[in-house]
Symmetry: C2
Subunit: 345 residues, 2 copies
Amino acid sequence: MKDTREVTIYDIARQLHISPATVSRGLNNHPAVSKKTRQKILEVAQALGYRSNTFASNLRRQHTNTLGVIVPKLNSHFVSSVLAGIEKVANEAGYNLIISQSLESAQKEVANANTMFKSRVDGLIVSLAFDTQDLSHFNPFFKKGIPVIFFDRVEQSLPSSTHIIIDNEKAGYQATEHLIQQGCRHILHITGNLTRNVYADRLKGYQEALKAYGLPFHETDVIVSMLDEKSAWETGRQIANMHPLPDGLFVANDTFAAICMQALKEKGIRVPDDIAIVGFNDDLVSRVVEPPLTTVHYPGQEMGELVARHLINHLQGTVPLTHTHTIIIHSELIVRQSSLRNPQR
Amino acid sequence: MKDTREVTIYDIARQLHISPATVSRGLNNHPAVSKKTRQKILEVAQALGYRSNTFASNLRRQHTNTLGVIVPKLNSHFVSSVLAGIEKVANEAGYNLIISQSLESAQKEVANANTMFKSRVDGLIVSLAFDTQDLSHFNPFFKKGIPVIFFDRVEQSLPSSTHIIIDNEKAGYQATEHLIQQGCRHILHITGNLTRNVYADRLKGYQEALKAYGLPFHETDVIVSMLDEKSAWETGRQIANMHPLPDGLFVANDTFAAICMQALKEKGIRVPDDIAIVGFNDDLVSRVVEPPLTTVHYPGQEMGELVARHLINHLQGTVPLTHTHTIIIHSELIVRQSSLRNPQR
DNA sequence: GTGAAAGCGCTAACAG
DNA sequence: CTGTTAGCGCTTTCAC
């Protein structure tokens, strides 16, 4: 039953009475092969059910035409969009993708990086896990000159690698400013691990905005959380029990914000009247909760396309990666009901 | 700067004055190699920064130790859980994973299958796209004797391949029965492409339940949708404008249900008082909407583990795959406020 | 327990 | 435009 023998270029060559080299060239669209022979080669290949052996090919040429991608979690609108963007560009350029998720664990990220290294990806795209501190698991790549490019969750201390991010400080500023303009005077900021750029920068923006509007900043108004579902419920309930109640919440992701909102509402607290809430990411959930969540949108797909294009350009020698350090993509605040206290118009 | 030369088993062999064959054996824990030499080999390999060349290895042995996974969408709680389960088992058994998403497009699924085939995965795990009809893109696998195993979205007409599913008919029955028991008499069922088992079976369950409770079934009460976000809003608004209003909604996924709920509420319709709603999947969103959504939970992680274990057992020759046709996993209805009309207790 | 040797399938000089 | 040749790095008989 099993059709066990593999068809090779030798089989094609034999059938056409030409050399395997020519077959190889024909299959790879090498210019120095006549249209006629190429045509024939393709036909026979088709007829014989030939499939090229990537391993032999990769073994021979010393690269894999494969890009590695490590993300914290597949399961978010933002990450999905980025991936879609990366895949589009990679596909068009003939690159394959290996995708893995660290599940927000530094340990798993290390394992993933090792796998990627062993898989000999030509380049690596990374968004760091929640608690990744040490970046030495990328050293093998640096040493071998394999380009690594970071997006969103980056470590800017790292020299000589490219980062593609949004202006988290600005986004944090705008979110906070918006809350202030809605009349909030005591705004809590709920965020993640502050060693991570995205959270540290949003916090900076939050602080700046407070300062700009002459509001005091209290350390105790910043809640650092693991940002998982369980903490979200706990934090939400905790806030509901505060006296006096804060009147604004700037939360570093939509899911967390949505759950907080739920927890607050369970305790009879009104959103936005008692507490106005702003989230981050523009996940689907932000549109489904009641009231819809004001949030920061950033263009995942574009970001992914940009990241991939950059990496591929570099791999193809077009652009020296080390010269373009940090690329900042536009983000914007989307105002919905969860923060709107004095409806405009 | 670039450390360009790769370390091979020859380098290790030379350093230890032994043959590459022995090094290979040592690295692969071949029994016929003394503890001492193995120890030394490992040390030198470490010191030299050796990484085995998968391509050479794969080229030589005729398999890849890699499993392919094709899912409709990465972006759902259920799929993430399944993947986690698959990964756990695969990892433990020393298998690598290539994961790709069809994004609910049959066309993309074909492309993915081809890529998997070219990547020479040792086995394939598939959950079908929304609109996949023709399954011929898996023929190359069947022909070559590469095992393909389906889960959740399956095509049971397919002979001689294993399916791992939940009892969708039963789940559909229970969901509908629950709504009836809550006093619903006119229940709409919103679902996906009815050629797909999951949707067809849930519909059957819905019909059975109606019949069992002496309620009439109307074709027009079944709304077939693409189940994307846009349709969800449209459908929700459409339902809101119905006269008379239905009093129950059984929706084939949580996201869609959540959006419908939102759309209904926008029109001033109360959930569950005017319309009770049951979703499907137990996605995070089901817990965050107001009121929380009654839904059907099924154990993704377990399902993933089971699927992977099954496939790997077969690859290792333990179990003949063709003999175990269909495995059914337990699912359960989780009752929350969106459907509770006469609060128990 | 270890070594020699052949070859997995492909590509890239080089030569014509 | 096409053929010859020589490996890429590894595993696996078959010897010893």
